[in-house]
């Protein structure tokens, strides 16, 4: 009898007609709950505790997905051949030599800068500290440029914290959970970075375009002094990002006399590969640093032409 009404040959429902499992009241209540959740979640700061609890619940799933990649990285280290290690060592030595040579020059420049600032009676620049973190190898929503890192509030991560890599700004933390954190990349369409053109000091905003290799600068006047190849650094305005870090390189400038603004696009200098090491920036003043593990002080990168 049951067979007659069901297509699926494996179906062995004990009841032919189940009681109504999709009652109107229950459906409406749950849908309303979803809408209320979305509404409050959109206004950041209301659901932090819920997010913290949920992130702890889903962390094992993220860790499980990340595990094969972590294992592959570990195995690569353990099983690397002697010659490969020697080669890597040689190239790292070379890199270190070049970098320390640049650093010597930089120390002299820093002192010169400090004395000039003294003469101008301007305040001293404060250096921050950084902490290393790793991108988790998990995919987030494909239409948002959001990443997950393996450090959370327990390691001192806070909302709005700047995320860097060896080349420049990656983005900022948009949600710090106890064990992991979410960060929005500068290419996310909801993000804008206050930048200045390193060559001229002209200040503007670099806006995310949802294209991973493209930032747009819509607020540069048609006669603005901007050229292809100019480096954009953070201006430090708005107080979110620390000043003076590389963000992007101008790739295209289109000037149309009919438009008030030039069409300028730029390519981010930071690299965003999976399993990539990133750096969390801790400003030297408030918010205070709750003694995060493995921190070491970092100097501001020298301003100059992009490599």
């Amino acid at each position: 009898m049951t067979r007659m009404f069901t297509f699926h040959p494996l179906q062995r429902s004990p009841r032919l007609f189940t009681r109504n499992p999709a009652g109107a009241l229950r459906t409406l209540l749950l849908i309303a709950a979803c809408i209320v959740l979305m509404f409050y979640d959109h206004q950041r700061g209301h659901l932090e505790k819920v997010h913290a609890a949920l992130s702890t619940v889903v962390y094992p799933i993220q860790a499980a997905v990340n595990a094969p990649y972590a294992l592959a990285g570990w195995a690569e280290q353990k099983l690397a051949t002697h010659s490969a290690l020697v080669r890597e060592n040689a190239s790292l030595q070379k890199q270190l030599l070049t970098d320390s040579a640049q650093l010597q020059q930089f120390q002299a420049l820093e002192q010169e800068n400090a004395s000039l600032r003294d003469l101008l009676q301007a305040g001293q620049r404060l250096d921050g500290q950084v902490m290393a973190a790793t991108l988790l190898a998990v995919d987030m929503d494909p239409f948002r440029h959001v990443i997950t890192i393996d450090k959370g509030t327990r390691a001192g991560v806070f909302d709005g914290q700047t995320l860097l890599d060896a080349h420049g700004i990656i983005g900022q933390i948009i949600r710090a959970d106890p064990l992991s954190s979410e960060a929005a990349l500068i290419t996310d369409p909801t993000q804008a970075v206050p930048v200045q053109i390193n060559r001229t000091g002209l200040r503007t905003l670099a806006i995310g375009t949802a294209d991973p290799g493209l930032l747009s600068l819509p607020y540069l006047a048609n006669n603005a002094d901007v050229r292809v190849g100019d480096l954009l650094v953070t201006s430090g305005l708005a107080g979110r990002y620390p000043a003076g870090y590389p963000v992007a390189v101008i790739t295209q400038v289109q000037r149309n006399p009919a438009d008030p603004f030039a069409r300028v696009s730029a390519r981010p200098v930071a690299e965003l590969n999976r399993g990539h090491a990133v750096l969390l920036f801790f400003p030297a003043v408030a918010p205070p640093l709750p003694s995060p593990p493995q921190t070491h002080s970092v100097k501001k990168p020298p301003k100059g032409k992009p490599r």
Binding site: F5, T6, F7, H8, P9, L10, Q11, R12, S13, P14, R15, F17, T18, R19, P21, A22, R26, T27, L30, I31, A33, C34, I35, V36, L37, M38, D41, H42, L47, V50, H51, L54, S55, V57, V58, I61, Q62, A64, V65, Y69, A137, V138, D139, M140, D141, P142, F143, R144, V146, T148, R175, E182, P189, T190, A210, P212, R274
Partner: protein
Amino acid sequence: MNFVLRRRANWVIVVTYLVALLLSIWPLPDWAEAFRPAWLLLATIYWCLFLPHRVGLLVTFGVGILLDALTGSLLGEHALALLLIAWVTLKLHLQIRVFPWWQQMLVVFLLSLLYSFVLYWVDGMLGYTQGALLRWMPVLITSLLWPWSMQLLGMLQQRFQVN
């Protein structure tokens, strides 16, 4: 005895949902990311179709919130889309069950169209309007995967006596 067995087989449902969640965040190459099938949608449709007295709206709401937490979307976004699908499936489960496989595929196509539409709608209100064409790729792939996932889940259901 029957009662004990029935309760014990709960883990099969939990495992299928867990696998669907794992697959939803499994890292894919960048070009393939937009083609990722909506795994959780397939699991939800299957269980609501063939086990409506045990997997209903509350379970769907729960896994939807977990998916939101995993993918970094707005809390409640995927839950809302899945809830609507689950509601339609539960309402029509007796009809959809007796459909031949290609008609079921058509139903899954329409349901995942609704699913993608709700996600696009919420994202659009937040300003994520890019990739309008790519958003419909998972609809096609999810519905093409339906017959296989139904066979697989059916085998699991029979093997472990989940009913």
